[in-house]
Amino acid sequence: MILSLDPELMQVLLLSLEVSGLAICIAVVLGIPSGVFLGLRRFPGRNLLITLVNTGMGLPPVVVGLVVFLFLARSGPFGNLNLLYTPSAMIIAQIIIALPIVMGVTMAGIQNLDEKLRLQILALGASKLQYFWKLIEEGRLIVLSALAAGFGSIISEVGAVMMVGGNIKGQTRVLTTAIVLETRQGNYSLAIALGIILFLIALLLNLVFTFLQQRRSS
């Protein structure tokens, strides 16, 4: 079933990658700089923000789903955008799930970078932008783990995408919601096939990440 590349299955797979891929890209673009900022700068309200980020890291995805649902439903504040039950709604929910994870991992990693290294960069007369950039470059491992943690959490997430996507065939059906559906119908073999694909994606990504990490540290 997996080998025959059933078109319906391929479509589900592609949509999963597309939705979670876009969501993680946006979450990284927003989350890495803000994570670095939060990790390095001292400003009033910082502790509160850090607490919020940490809470966000443990936020149950169904709660995110519920909130996004309420906002996008016809009766909600953004109802006229007609986004509910579209891939965009799923991307929004996944960004909200991934963002605190990306921020949190980046923040923790940057803070753990050797203090001496940071002073060294500054001592070499780097501008603020160069300093930030150098830190990220040195902290490439951190960025990679933030990416892996964020992507892993959203590609495997089912509650939120089910609520805001609606699991509509050919439009918003992704790997995880398809597994729920097939199991519910008693199509265990198809459900298992989808599960294997999900597992393979996770395995492949982690292989790549591990390879990149090990190459750098050796």
């Binding site: 039950y85 509509i168 065939k169 919601t177 559906l181 519910r184 119908q185 008693g186």
Partner: protein, 271 residues
């Protein structure tokens, strides 16, 4: 380390004891439409109190409920698709089957009614919808009893929904979720009356077509064949089967929903 390990082992072996202390259990596999109606939340506690048997209700589509029965993963089924049920009985998976009640399906849709299908006979209404470019039809798409009924209706008018002019959404979710999606998208959908009555207050949908005898929805209970699956909880299952088919309980089913929604969710077969 060894100590921790042995403690853990003891704990793991004790776990099953925690879950079945003193009370016996059984599994009732049923459909989401029954679950969404609230009938089981009303009935099951009465049975549990009377017989001290814990009932685990698994609500899935008729397809999975039947698949659970075929693997001996359920003790009693409460389902609504006669063709599939007869297939199941003929293959020897069930030992007893009894039709207990019925309600009916109805076609609901947005009040704007883009296909001009309101108050037509179900088949005329479906044709109108199928040939309307503006119409959206939300299908359960999950092999549930409601989905199978919908497919049978399309088949009776020789239409393939996916190749018609309307947009056809296959939600793959339960009746409640599908009604919500239909309401948000302004789509038509086929629903059973009980879920409709329970949820219509929060939906932007209205009844488009009802009343054809082909829309009848018959629920039956099936007792899983204990000879085929020795592992099932046959004593509890027997108790449940005779309890739910007893006149007193049937009366409870026939009255369910009357006080709250003005009409009963289910009708009984007059003997």
């Amino acid at each position: 380390m060894k100590k921790i390990f042995s403690l853990l082992t003891i704990f793991v072996f004790l776990l099953p004891l925690l879950s079945c202390s003193g009370q016996s259990t059984m599994i009732l596999a049923t459909t989401t439409s029954v679950q969404d109606s609230g009938l089981l939340d009303y009935l099951i506690p009465k049975f549990e109190d009377q017989y001290n048997v814990k009932v685990k209700v698994i609500a899935a589509g008729t397809g999975e409920a039947i698949a659970m029965g075929q693997r001996g993963n359920a003790d009693v089924l409460l389902v609504h698709n006669k063709a599939k049920e007869m297939e199941f009985m003929n293959a020897g998976y069930g030992s007893k089957r009894q039709e207990i009640c019925y309600n009916d399906f109805l076609l609901v849709g947005p009040s704007s009614d883009p296909a001009k299908a309101k108050d037509l006979d179900i088949y005329e209404a479906l044709k109108k919808i199928a040939y309307s470019k503006e119409a959206i039809f939300a299908s359960r798409g999950d092999q549930s009893g409601t989905h199978l009924k919908e497919l049978a209706l399309w088949k009776n008018i020789s239409l393939t929904p996916t190749s018609a002019e309307m947009s056809y959404l296959s939600t793959g979710q339960g009746m409640g979720e599908t009604l919500r999606i239909a309401s948000e998208k302004g789509a038509y959908t086929l629903t059973d009356r009980s879920t409709w009555l329970a949820q219509k207050g929060t939906l932007n949908l209205e009844v488009i077509s009802q009343g054809n005898k082909d829309l009848l929805n018959v629920y039956s209970v099936i007792l899983i064949n204990a000879q085929k699956f020795p592992q099932i909880h046959s004593k509890e299952a027997q108790l449940f089967f005779s309890w739910i088919t007893s006149p007193d309980v049937l009366k409870l089913i026939g009255d369910f929903g009357k006080d709250k929604y003005g009409e009963p969710f289910f009708h009984l077969f007059t003997p």
